[in-house]
Symmetry: C2
Subunit: 301 residues, 2 copies
């Protein structure tokens, strides 16, 4: 058992990571800027702290052995280019330095498939697919990883970096694809999408959270893709939602024009995740969409 600190604990992944960490027997501390909506989950020791204002305070007072750092600027639509990304590089580096100084042993940080060169196409493999982020968000994540990996030995902290691909699931921002199509169809409204020929690697948020919990408990260091390993056309994803909601009649695939510059395929190679981190995603697309639709149906009720 370790004393674990989770940042971004009220976020999309953070909320779903607390359960797996408790089940693994850790002493789980969570930190967020605002109190958790609905109160802290049973068994989690909650702290309120503004990581951007003072990234070191919380690690100084909790003195965790392991750190799961999920907090970042994540405002839908804005996060790709927001200058807040720069402040989060600074806060993340300070946090990990102070974590190390307070006796921390292992940090797992959320990275992104946006670190890869998406023009390189297809399957992204850690350590060989070129890293060439197209937007500030990816550059900021990639630069943070570069510094933490290079400083790991000097800081005396093992660092694993979970590169999250395209996640979906209960509690997702309502403006994102899966949530917005699901909510429209459940409300009996038409959902208009692009032709959706582009292939993405979708993974249910509970599998993403489970992968992070496995990384935290394990000993793998460096970048590890967190994806399903399977490419799914976006059109197939939205048809799954139509199937699960029973409203194929309301789905207009191809009604919106394709966005310029969308890469054809972004898929995770998950050999490191499965073989080295020992985590195999368990929730298939059909099952994951069923669960997500059920959750939104209940949330509407």
């Amino acid at each position: 058992m370790s004393r674990v600190l989770v940042t971004g604990a009220t976020g999309f992944i953070g909320r779903r990571a607390l359960g797996p960490l408790l089940e693994a027997g850790h002493e789980v501390h969570a930190v967020s800027t605002r109190p958790p909506p609905g109160g802290a989950p049973v068994g989690v020791i909650w702290h309120q702290s503004d990581l951007l204002a003072d990234p070191g305070e919380i690690v100084g007072s909790v003195a965790p052995q392991r750190l799961l750092h999920l907090a970042w600027y994540a405002e839908h639509g804005r996060f790709w280019t927001a200058p807040e990304n720069v402040a989060w590089v600074e806060a993340t580096l300070t946090l990990v330095r102070r974590f190390a100084a307070a006796g921390g042993e292992r940090a797992v940080v959320a990275g992104s498939c946006a670190e890869y060169d998406w023009d390189h196409g297809g399957r992204c493999v850690e350590g060989s697919t070129p890293l060439a982020p197209a937007a500030l968000y990816g550059s900021a994540k990639n630069a943070t990883r570069e510094v933490l990996e290079a400083a790991s030995e000097q800081l005396g902290v093992a660092v694993a970096w979970g590169r999250v691909f395209f996640l979906y699931g209960p509690g997702e921002d309502e403006r994102r694809l899966v949530a917005s199509v699901t909510r429209a169809l459940l409300a009996g409204e038409r959902a208009r999408t692009t032709a959706g020929a582009q292939v993405r690697d979708f993974l249910h948020v509970d599998d993403v959270a489970g992968a992070f919990a496995a990384l935290l408990a394990g000993e793998v260091t460096g970048a590890v893709n967190i994806g399903s390993g399977e490419g799914t056309p976006v059109s197939e994803m939205v048809w799954q939602i139509a199937r699960a909601t029973g409203r194929r009649d309301l789905l207009d695939v191809g009604a919106l024009p394709d966005r310029a510059g969308e890469p054809a395929a972004i898929v995770a190679d998950v050999r490191r995740l499965c073989e080295e981190a020992g985590f195999t995603p368990a929730i298939g697309l059909e099952q994951g969409i069923d669960a997500t639709v059920r959750w939104w149906r209940a949330a509407r009720a």
Copy 2:
């Protein structure tokens, strides 16, 4: 004329950059943690501030239009792997963000040839030679550059990044190659060196400082190599020192074993510096070593 702030103003490059900036007609503000030894140069407005403790304070109070950021952890021997590199990434990003918020328009930051993949060999060209730093220092510089370049538009600050190659000259740390060989020969002591077959790009610190002043005055953005463009074997460099000191008899080239893993050649491509930044190095190796030896001779007297 611009209001210019120079960080690291007591450093090896910083001290030599103040003159060219004054000559260019700028209002020159300098900042350092400790007061300048021997007092502030005439015409320079000096500020004392600890950039690591509060990187934003000085740009808030001076409100410079242009920023020449040279400060970094530079302790001889230690800087390659020191954890202080991480804190300097944070301080640099905060500094540039706060510079932007205070109305700053253009920042020029000191990078390093250590950002390049030295195994790639030979001539380093901005934008095409792979970036793969071998040590934390290079990773920290490279990551800082990546974030600043990606954030430049959002922050509203033009960023140029001067990649310094192998500099030498008056006032260099006594433990570095040129200074230590020069001082030994001037003291009438034997100087033992490796065979020195490895080729490096040496540039006199006054040319380095002049290049930074040109970058600050100009409009080039992105990475710009600061070197001579010429490769010189290290043995040739030390023989130049022996010639200039008149003590060839005291030089034992090849007396020390080669260091493992030394790359064969690291040379700057200087087309961007000369053609786009409009700066051509003026001090050849022979002339530069003569001036350096004269300086050390005077310093001994």
